[in-house]
């Protein structure tokens, strides 16, 4: 395991870079890889070509600030949300945008279903699902009065359930059922949810420096505590075997093969130069990308080596990251307003 890393520091010049006006809070490739959407803290939402970063069409701002972005599964619709309590949708084939008033409070997270044209929206303490085919203007299902502001929204991989993280655990909802389908109570503040692609596990990164895990079918719980800072960045390998967690000083990779990570030690990846601020596993591949507060973008193959196989420079503290759907390029956004695409 002592292979010397061959660092390609700054060797991989960005395929392209664009300079936006503000701290980038979110970047998302369209599912076909042709388009790139970005959201900025000042409220701007941009749509750029994936090949060269050219602006495609101006999209409306979110007054006060943009917070969330999500492409529908087939890439037909881009949705954004922000502090104005609105969801904006842009229909790619008809090239029209629409604004949906979502409710009182910030639209903190958005997630399109992996199974159909349904958009889950977290607005303040409410979760709503909009069926875009039936009712593009409003919610079909609403679950108001959650225990606290909803911090993170996810769909189960089969598209049947929506998970909402908040202070006090996770609520699992089923469209059509006005109650809570399943509650995963836990005394702590959930910041970010990540369901395993195989639907077996639900992971949460938490304010109290821990990662919590639920086995979805049984509700069994596991906790990985003792991280040096709050946990906001976690990602699953497409095969659901590995869960990577980026934190203040390192990246830990937990092994879920067999009976799972209970009693196992994580792999601790080396070479992390600064606080990890974004993380993502390669779609369909074994590469792990992590962006850091010092502007570096590291790539590992965690199943093979602890040291990074390459280090690229993003041009500013990395604030958001997304892999191209074909797994050949990484899109990064930075705190200084740069959006760049790097080939790996």
């Amino acid at each position: 395991m002592s292979a010397t890393p061959r660092l390609r520091a700054a060797a991989g010049a960005p395929a392209w870079a664009a300079h936006l006006e503000d701290y980038v809070v979110g970047v998302r490739w369209s599912p076909d890889g042709d388009l790139v959407a970005t959201a900025s803290v000042g409220g701007a939402v941009h749509l750029l070509s994936g090949a060269e970063g050219r602006e495609i069409v101006p999209l409306p701002d979110h007054r006060g600030g943009a917070l969330a972005l999500s492409w529908s599964r087939g890439g037909e619709v881009l949705a954004s949300g922000g502090q104005d309590g609105r969801v904006h949708t842009w229909d790619r084939t008809r090239r029209v945008s629409a604004a949906i008033p979502a409710g009182a409070g910030w639209v903190g997270d958005l997630a399109w279903s992996p199974a159909g044209p349904r958009l889950a929206v977290a607005v303040g303490r409410e979760v709503a699902v909009v069926d875009h085919d039936r009712s593009p203007e409003g919610a079909v299902d609403r679950w108001p009065d959650q225990p606290s502001t909803v911090s993170s929204l996810v769909w189960s991989p089969d598209g049947r359930h929506v998970g909402a993280g908040h202070y006090g655990g996770v609520h699992w909802f089923e469209p059509g059922n006005p109650g809570v389908h399943k509650a995963f109570p836990w005394k702590g503040s959930v910041l970010r949810l990540a369901p395993a692609p195989n639907g077996k596990w639900l992971a949460s990164g938490n304010q109290d420096h821990s990662v919590h895990l639920w086995r979805l079918w049984s509700g069994d719980q596991l906790e990985m505590a003792g991280y040096p800072a709050k946990v906001e960045h976690l990602t699953w390998h497409h095969g659901s075997r590995w869960l990577a967690v980026g934190n203040a000083e390192d990246v830990t990779v937990w092994d879920f093969s067999g009976k799972g990570p209970r009693g196992r030690k994580p792999r601790i990846l080396s070479g992390v130069p600064a606080k990890v601020t974004a993380i993502g596993y390669q779609p369909g591949g074994d590469l792990l990308a992590a962006g850091c507060a010092d502007g570096s973008l590291l790539l590992w193959t965690p199943s093979q080596a602890r040291s990074p196989r390459s280090v690229l420079l993003a041009g500013g503290a990395v604030s958001a990251l997304d892999w191209s759907p074909d797994g050949t390029r990484v899109l990064v956004g930075t705190a200084t307003g740069t959006v760049a695409v790097m080939a790996v």
Binding site: S148, T149, D208, S319
Partner: protein
């Protein structure tokens, strides 16, 4: 000796507390009017009437999160973390943040947010907790008997304060005002009292205080009332200790550790300047509940070495605190 001029670039945060009717919104508008050269972000927990157009005002709904770290008093404000994390990312940075709490807010989670959350610590600096009281009504609020297990928020807001603004002094006579100030002192012997009418205070008295900055703890001068004023059945009080000599570091550590573990829930604020055996500099500390911060301060030089500590809290046993601390002195 070199003077360390490392500038703190973090954005200062002022927390404004006080009962409904004490004049918080008036004071807030006064700050915004007088500080018009500064960009100030205001976070409000109840609907106020901020009359200044260029201030950024964000409404927030109080969300108190207990931290899952085995410390029951370690609570933070989830709403503030969310809003402030977003604010500090903006290109148009703010010079100052003012958080106006509701009249019923517990100041502890607000204060602890700035020490417990990583992002808050890095980007923001809690400058001071400023509590407004209405000179005419404050004693009634402080004396209000609450059902068992319910806190008297007015008492807590006074106990947590770094600055106590006694407002509407024109509505009370000199004697009544003196009684109010004596009462405030008996709860909180550390806060500076500022008098005002129509919440018009000299802003230098409440902004740029640096109340949590250890470098600013130059001298502790607890303004104690040893004049038999403890006639009320007061559960929240200040206890000051002033002992010459030096403390033995291991005993001090044990004592502090035990004290915070056993009494941390009841200790709202504490500050101290200590002389530790073998250390040429003062040891300075401050704390909020179980959150503790300490470092070396100015050298003692030729000055007589001594120890001064102040605790503000609930059900503090002065005799027990004094004797257990005295046991830490080097013999």
């Amino acid at each position: 000796m070199t003077i360390d001029l490392v500038t703190d670039h973090r954005i200062p945060v002022t927390v404004l507390t006080g009962f409904l009717g004490s004049g918080k919104t008036t004071l807030l508008n006064h700050i915004l009017t007088e500080q018009h050269g500064q960009r100030i972000a205001v976070i409000e927990n109840e609907f106020g009437e901020v009359g200044i157009d260029d201030a950024l005002v964000v409404q927030a709904e109080e969300e108190i999160f207990e931290m899952n770290n085995g410390c029951i008093c370690c609570t933070v404000r989830g709403d503030l973390i969310r809003i402030l994390a977003n604010l500090v990312r903006r290109r148009d940075r703010f010079d100052r943040v003012v958080i106006e709490t509701t009249g019923l807010a517990d100041p502890a989670p607000v204060a602890q947010t700035f020490f417990v959350d990583d992002d808050m610590r890095r980007e923001l600096r809690l400058d001071a907790i400023v509590t407004l009281v209405d000179a005419r009504h404050v004693l009634a609020h402080l004396d209000e008997v609450k059902p068992a297990g319910v806190e008297n928020e007015a008492v807590e807001q006074v106990a947590f304060a770094d600055r106590l603004v006694v407002n509407k002094i024109d509505l009370v006579g000199d004697e009544a005002l003196a009684a109010v100030e004596r009462r405030l002192r008996s709860i909180n012997a550390l806060a500076e009292i500022v008098r005002s009418q129509y919440a018009r205070v000299d802003l230098d008295a409440i902004l740029g205080v640096g109340a949590f900055d250890l470098d600013r703890v130059l001298d502790l001068d607890p303004q104690f009332l040893d004049s038999g004023e403890h006639l009320h059945d007061e559960t929240v009080t200040s206890v000051g200790i002033d002992l010459p000599g030096e403390v033995e570091p291991r005993r001090l550590n044990d004592w502090l550790g035990r004290l915070l573990a056993e009494k941390g829930v009841d200790i709202f604020r504490m500050k101290g300047i200590l002389a530790v055996t073998g250390q040429s500099e003062r040891y300075i500390f401050q704390g909020v509940h179980m959150l503790f911060d300490g470092k070396a301060g100015r050298p003692w030089g030729d000055e007589a070495r001594s120890n001064r500590l102040v605790f503000i809290g609930r059900n503090l046993d002065r005799g027990e605190l004094e004797s257990s601390f005295a046991a830490c002195l080097a013999r």
